[in-house]
Symmetry: C2
């Protein structure tokens, strides 16, 4: 999906190098798994985390930068993301990811467990090669832990009809925003920006990550199946109650209670009713407000970065990514 | 199971500290998972990897040692081991481990995936705290990768009736011997032994690990169910063909072919027939020879270590662990 970056040719080139490094590092003896990993990389997402990393690196001191180090760190971010995706797909029993069969559906949960683990080790290799001895080792370990605690928290909340907005925001802060924050922060840090900019980058990344996940969860309630490339309301059926539903439920608990009670026994028709009810009771509308607030916070902080073409491009990207459907 | 160490009171005390540190570090918000993790730790195995680590540390320069650092590294070894166990149990669909329900059977595969991942992150935390900037970071990452490649290799060989002894030895070298080798090596290194002793320690650990895994695989063919605390011939039913079977098959392929062909459809009665055939065709007897060779290599190398009460104890332990049933 590097075509997403057609208007950002410098970034696109750098992401191509990330893609090559992933393929180079993911050497497994089993040819099936090897193929699946390469297919997953290529069918891949937008490489958003490495992209934000490079944007923030470009804001730094170009003369001091080491392109090989930057490429490895950018790659580590995508690998950490991929590892969690492979494991997520086991949890969700997902047949598809980005329109391509998941590792777990093609090879079984067994292979998917170890494949995810292997991606973690390659992630680990790369950060050791690039930042061993720096404080960023511990920051990475901390981020990885936050990511998993976010996922565990989300799982522990499954089918809980008393789920709160606060708990949801905590979960996505760990499972999504943490990695966006790390990407922007490391871009600034290894791009040799000042400590203040590094701190700003971490905050901007966190806000972008929060908005991004909320936006993603909104899509579950507004997209057609073909567009989403995954089954409609998969999260709801799995007992993962996201922001639009939580907000609609807050003001109208009785409407939703019968559906919650069915847990995984809910039918497709009932899931579609829930979808309509969430829209009817302004769940989507209110969730968009949350997303917009996080996006605006991000955009305002971007405006405080040093003026440059990169800042402009970063603002454009953030806008394009997060408010295209408002 | 720290009673195993009753005759080694110094080691037993140190392992108790490892146990406490594991409990301290495994703080999860979900109380069920928290309990399961603590139960797993306490019901735990023999803590062999930390124990070998401490034995080798004791051979070093005691005055230069930092007990807190040593405790953390010993703990990291057990956590890495536990992480792979939690994920292994998913693959094997195991109901029991050490006579206690597995995480996957109590909470489902979902929780087990993330719980294993979380153990990996706590392992990372500990090694970053204790050896950031040292070459041992990369050595740890390498070991973790070897462990997973060993498991992946074993999985890719499932139900393959043409499995070779060589391939088996490669698998167990990764999935088991690697971590024993790391434990002994790190004990020597962080105990401030000489580079020569560190290298010897790594070799001794590898030989002990190989013998230990072969011995474990032999038990599948010689133990009663109660003794083993897991279903008889679980590995065979899962398509994991270990050394006793591979050796018996080498000289009598036709005898075993009909059983291989049934794959996971094999009945309990048939599994018991295989067990008898493996014994009849000297699979167990020959596998014991392999185990004995690795054990002897380990013991000979232990004899070359500097003479000390620890060396004596290490020799006793290795003998007790690996040749008790010959």
């Amino acid at each position: 999906m590097l075509t997403y970056w057609n208007n950002y040719p410098t970034i696109q080139n750098k992401l191509q190098t990330v893609c090559s490094l992933i393929e180079e590092r993911l050497q497994v003896e089993n040819p099936d798994i090897q193929d699946a990993l390469i297919e997953m990389t290529q069918a891949g997402g937008k490489f958003l985390r490495p992209a934000f990393f490079f944007f923030f690196a470009e804001l730094g001191d170009l003369e001091k930068q080491d392109p090989i180090q930057l490429n490895k760190i950018a790659t580590s971010l995508e690998l950490l993301h991929m590892a969690t995706l492979v494991h997520d797909d086991i949890i969700d029993d997902s047949p598809l990811r980005r329109g391509v069969s998941t590792i777990q559906s093609r090879f079984g949960k067994d292979v998917a467990v170890y494949t995810g683990d292997l991606l973690f080790t390659v992630f680990f290799d790369l950060i050791i090669e690039t930042m061993n001895a720096s404080e960023y080792m511990a920051i990475n370990a901390q981020s990885m832990k936050q990511l998993l605690l976010g996922e565990l928290n989300q799982m522990a909340s499954r089918y809980k009809s008393n789920g709160s907005v606060e708990n949801y925001l905590n979960s996505i802060n760990g499972k999504t925003a943490e990695l966006f924050s790390l990407a922007c922060m490391e871009g600034a840090a290894f791009g040799h920006s000042s400590p203040e900019i590094i701190q700003q980058a971490a905050n901007i990344g966190r806000n972008i990550g929060m908005a991004f996940q909320i936006f993603d969860d909104i899509l579950d309630y507004t997209s057609e199946k073909e567009e989403l490339k995954k089954p409609i309301l998969e999260d709801f059926v799995q007992g993962v109650y996201t922001l639009p539903l939580l907000l609609a439920k807050e003001s109208n608990p009785d409407v939703f209670l019968p559906y919650f009670k069915k847990e995984s026994q809910v039918t497709i028709e009932e899931a579609e009713e829930v979808m309509q009810l969430v829209i009817k009771y302004d769940g989507v509308k209110q969730a968009k407000k949350y997303a917009k607030n996080y996006t605006n916070d991000a955009l305002e902080s971007i405006d405080c970065l040093p003026k440059s073409p990169t800042r402009k491009a970063l603002k454009k990207l953030t806008t394009q990514l997060l408010i295209r459907t408002y």
